[in-house]
């Protein structure tokens, strides 16, 4: 029995397996946004359809769900009914806002007519808001607390459970 080999070998084996074990179940695609914990970048954008200007600041006092989306994005179709249903259910407890990402107002309005809507959707013409939020692709959803601080971010389509969990976080702050 070579003790050196045994000890060094078992040490290396434990280290490698231990580190990999801790990595289990983590989603390596998830990158925490550096914006979490900071005040959400403000915007004042034109609402699709009405043409009214909507500023983020006007929703201070309740949690905000900010959803970046587009009609050319397949997962956005999947999450749209979930967003609408939850916005209706929560009513004035939380404010949902859709932000259009690289799309035309015409297509957006047709999409909303066909599939229903329950909250305002604003048009980010020059893409400045998406850049300010560091949006890499759609859908991406940001959760803001009543003070306008970003508490969570989610890439990809949302589910009801995910919306609830993150809104609870936003309400606790």
């Amino acid at each position: 029995m070579n003790r050196t080999v045994l000890i060094v070998g078992l040490f290396l084996a434990t280290a490698v397996v231990g580190v990999l074990f801790l990595g289990l179940g983590k989603d390596p695609q998830r990158i925490d946004s550096p914006l979490i914990g900071r005040t959400a970048p403000s915007f004042a954008l034109r609402e699709a359809g009405t043409g009214d200007t909507i500023a983020l600041e006007q929703f201070r006092g309740k949690p905000v769900v900010l959803n970046f989306w587009a009609t050319w994005c397949a997962p956005c179709y999947e999450e749209h009914p979930i967003l609408v249903a939850n916005a209706r259910r929560l009513g004035s407890q939380a404010q949902f806002v859709g932000v259009v990402f690289q799309d035309t107002e015409e297509k957006i309005l047709k999409f909303l007519r066909d599939r229903g809507s329950a909250y305002p959707t604003v048009v980010d013409d020059a893409g400045k808001t998406a850049i300010a939020y560091g949006v890499g692709g759609v859908p991406e959803t940001f959760f803001l607390d009543a003070d306008g601080t970003i508490v969570a971010k989610h890439d990809g389509p949302v589910s009801t459970e995910l919306l609830q969990a993150n809104l609870v976080k936003a309400m606790q702050r």
């Binding site: 070579n2 080999v5 078992l10 397996v17 580190v19 990999l20 983590k26």
Partner: protein, 681 residues
Amino acid sequence: MNPGLGRFLILASLLVATAGALVAFAAGRTGSQEGLKWARRLAYAFAALMAGATLLMEYALLTHDFSVSYVAQVGSRSVPAWVTISSLWSSLEGSILFWGFVLAAYIAIATWMTRDRYREYMPDAIGVWLSSAAFFSFLLAGPANPFHTVPIPPLDGPGPNPLLQNHILMVVHPPFLYLGFVGMTIPFGLAAAALIKGRLGHGFLKPIREALLLPWVFLTISIMLGGWWAYEVLGWGGYWAWDPVENASLLPWLTATAALHSMMVVERRGILKGWTTTLILATYLLVILGTFMTRSGVFNSVHSFTQSSIGPTILAFLAAALIFSVVLLATRIDRLEAEGTIEGAVSREGMFLVNNLMFVLLTFTVLIGTVFPLIVEAVNGKQMSVGRPYFDSMVVPAGAALLFLLGVGPALPWGRATREQLRRALLPPLAGAAVFLLAGLAFGVRTPWTLLALAFGGYAAQVTLHQMWLPLVQRLRGGDSFANALVDGQLRRGRRRFASYIVHAGAVVTLIAIGVSSTMKSEGEYQLSKGQSASLAGYTITFLGVEDRAEPHRHSTIASFAVLKNGTQKTILHPRMNQYETMREPIGTPDVYTTAAGDVYLSILNVDRMQQSVGVSMVQTPLVVWIWIAVILMGIGGLVGVIPGRRSAAAAATAGVTLSREDGEGSPADGAIPRPAREGA
């Protein structure tokens, strides 16, 4: 009926592999010949069952039998047959089945090739192979079962991930990778058997070397294919990004390459036996680690790991294999007695030691860089990534050192050398170093590391060419005919030596091409309207316009650029942007104009249809095509070393055929002389 039959075949393969492993280990313990016979039969039975299951899956894919869960997941009636066939390895469960199939083929062939030899070692080797087989059968029977029954089969399926249909390299890269990865099971089993028996006889080195060399060839080619694919498809103009998945394929390659070298020292001097077996065991463990890191096969998750349920199962297997290997090494390594010593540091064997040190250093560097983000996140919850600067700062000096060794190592004689011998061996190649260095300076190379690489590369190139043709030259001097000198000196007797220098030649060219292409590339980003031009590194591109093309599964925007050099049009390139239905972001497909001197590489950044203008990224990279060519040369060299004359050489040696003297007795043309096989059994 298909899914049920598939499940039966998998369960039967699990049973047979488990039984075979038990019988084989028992036979190893008792030395029972009958037990060995049964172990072999069960090995063949496993191979047949696994092959049957794989063929059944291919049949189900081709006949669009959507009652098989895997077919429902990746099949589609609207894709061409070649996509359907290759969708076997396009997703998790299928890729594990493919792994099982490749393993079955390797086990069957290895069992057949060793059928009447190495009786002392074979029971344990078969036991280890079948244990690995049993694990993969278990994965297929449980966590990664591709043969679930779909109660209400759909009429059509989604087809495999569109990215996999995007480029032909994506069809050939995975099979090569599997042939490389899975094949490492065979040398692992042989080395473990040697450890279990507590001896590594001279005659048993040959099967280990060959079993290691063949998958090494596949792994070498597959790493290159992966880089080439990234270059042709991903659009950032590079071929290697130190992505965890890329590192996963590089790690076992590094230890296998080290083992192939240290094995030469075992053969020549009878030392480093424990070290060499450690490297072989480590190679297999790193293969399993790589499999874990990519869930299963590289593909279904180019960038994510362990999100599937088989992650923990593979990790458990890795832990078991690690403990098995460590305990085996600890209890047996001292029994593998050394038969000699190293006589001088400045000798061939001394250089082999330095070579091994470099490869192991590289392995640890890459391994630590790969898992470091996991460690940091485990310790303080912060996310981070280890990027190119870390890897470059560690790997570039190690690469330069390897290039240095590629020159100095083969130039040095075995054993102790006199001052005069050293001078004669080491001084002439300085000419090659000077030529390459001056050529580099003439072409404008000013980066110190690149100049160093060129000097080392020139030195190594001269040594390699000299050593490669030495047997031929010696025979011609001895009055042999050219044809005989070529066939017998290079391809028959000196085949192994010739092969290894072909590999070295490929390695020299690869390392130089990597050094030059990564430091001498020019990049530019331009916003061009129709008719506008941009110039970079002697090339001018003119934007000709964009057109849209709609296909059922994707929408493409294709731009056209004329590429000119010195006012003459060389070609028209069509980089494109593809928007797949199922993807969040558009995928760019670059277009490349390749010449021997360098590539012009264009990829689209954005398209403004109103203005008819595009943003384009242009990359001019020198020598990049030589990487692909030189790695293929390395693969060919490896194949030359492993394929022909397997039996004949051994037969000639055991028959006591006297070796002709012109093979270079007393000269450095060592590989030309096959050593008589001293069989252990």
